[in-house]
């Protein structure tokens, strides 16, 4: 390791009698990398072992099955994994929201970047849910004005990305604008909408600023990862289709 020596001489001619020992004479600093050359301390390894075994067992638990690869890149403005995530969060989230408020969520929207990993065809384990959603974010329902919904639409069109949207939201980009239906009804400018999203996006994450300062907000206290795990546990085979919920007019 290269060593750089910096000597600092302290002028102390007037002051030598005013000090008290001990005096700091030398400081040495370095960084020690933790590499495989260092033998693991057995006592520590032994202590970790039962925790690890328990985590591994849970992580390898098979929750469900998918006949196809689930990825975020198999459509133009939608994806199998995005549709699945938004739809399952809507399903689970709306059940809670409805039971607590008597109202229904209009649709769910998340961010493309929030899908952290795909799921390979075959068994789905807890590990898949952790890889898909490693963060601790929770579901939140935001009441948005029609103006904010218009901002949301503008964001989707300019971003031109497959941001996850639930099937209640149908947006078609046309030659001279767009056609939006929510719950099979034309977009109504005189109405407010309840949108399900994450508490990360609520605060303007991924520049989704239309989620900030909503008319009202309702935290479901339900972690997104737990929502996914619960849905997988309840469904032994995952069925998902690309249905053109967000598309460009051909």
């Amino acid at each position: 390791m290269k060593k750089f020596i910096i000597h600092i001489f302290i002028i102390s001619s007037l002051l030598s009698c005013k000090n008290k020992p001990p005096f700091l004479t030398k400081i040495e600093g370095k960084q020690l990398p933790i590499t495989e050359g260092i033998k693991s301390k057995q006592e520590i390894e032994d202590f970790i072992k039962p925790f690890k075994e328990s985590v591994d067992k849970e992580m390898n638990t098979v929750l469900s099955y998918t006949p196809h690869n689930l990825v975020r890149t198999d459509g133009e403005l939608e994806s199998s994994l995005g549709n699945l995530m938004a739809d399952l969060c809507y399903l689970k989230g709306n059940a809670i929201f409805n039971s607590r408020t008597g109202k229904n969520i209009d649709f769910a929207m998340f961010n493309y970047g929030g899908i952290r990993a795909g799921i390979t065809q075959g068994n789905i384990t807890t590990q898949n849910a952790f890889n898909l959603m490693p963060f601790e974010n929770s579901l939140v329902v935001l009441e948005l004005s029609s103006k904010k919904i218009e901002e949301l639409v503008y964001y989707l069109i300019t971003e031109n990305k497959a941001h996850p949207l639930s099937k209640q939201f149908n947006l078609v980009i046309t030659k001279d604008g767009y056609n939006l239906k929510i719950n099979n009804k034309p977009f109504d400018k005189n109405k407010t909408y309840f949108v399900l999203t994450s508490d990360y996006l609520q605060t303007g994450g991924d520049n989704m600023n239309f989620f900030k300062n909503s008319i009202s907000s309702y935290n479901l206290d339900y972690k997104i990862r737990n929502t996914i795990i619960d849905y997988f546990k309840e469904n032994d085979t995952i069925k998902v289709t690309l249905d053109g919920r967000f598309m460009k007019e051909k």
Binding site: I8, S16, P21, I27, E28, G29, T35, I44, F130
Partner: protein, 304 residues
Amino acid sequence: MKRRNFIKKTSAATALLTLGGLPLQSFATSEKKHITILHTNDVHSHIEPFENSHYKYPNLGGIARRATLIDGIRKENPHTLLLDAGDIFQGTPFFNFYGGELEFKLMSMLQYDAATIGNHDFDNGIDGLYAQLPHAKFDFLSANYDFKNTVLDTHVKPYKVFVKNDIKIGVFGLGIELKGLVDPRMYKETVYNNPVETAREMSRILNEEEHCDLVICLSHLGYHYKKEENKISDLELASKTKDIDLIIGGHTHTFLPKPTVTKNIVGENVLVNQVGCYGLNLGRIDFYFDTDKNIESKGKSIIV
């Protein structure tokens, strides 16, 4: 004991008075003392080494290896302090499953002396952190978070003075602004106070009241923010304070080729260090003292 009076011209009279009460023997013999400070930051629940196939850190890190390394250093110099600069939590399923219990238990087995609180240590809420405290046999230090109206009240100290080999080492903690970084429902009524003002007050207390020979700031402010010049960071803090010997940092996951030597507000050298993240490295700073009164005129050297 105090070694800083020579730079404080205004306190010369006080220093002389204090000196008058000392027995002459204090000057008679020369004794060399050695203190070792070991530190980690942003370990983020990385308990095991990274997998062999990892794209960036193959087979690196691991707390059981860190334990061996620390044992060796303690054997070489028993006058060693082991510190962590926060973000102990969040990053592997160990945290998701056990909420930080394993992290705290292992750090206790490694005999950590103190840690400060990082923003991710609030990831299970302030109650989640509080619930794990019984598993930590080391102190949590934070001088600028006011926990008075929270469950952590009285459980976190602003600073602690350690005595190793008759050398008094004052360590205080500093945390990053939580607003905008952590959900307010997580940190609840934790009040964030200005780190610079807090650090000045801490350095005054540790130097003038506690008479520490060594003052260490354990910070989770971040090393430096290039794009946000005014954002408080370890380098900023160093330049705005005095009488702090070492700032051990975290938060920005900064890998430094070597510890940084920078200037404090009165032009003296301060050491700022951070060792990346995930338990990939252990920082080591050695302080050498001499009780020979003639030694002082020779100055101190910093070797990094």
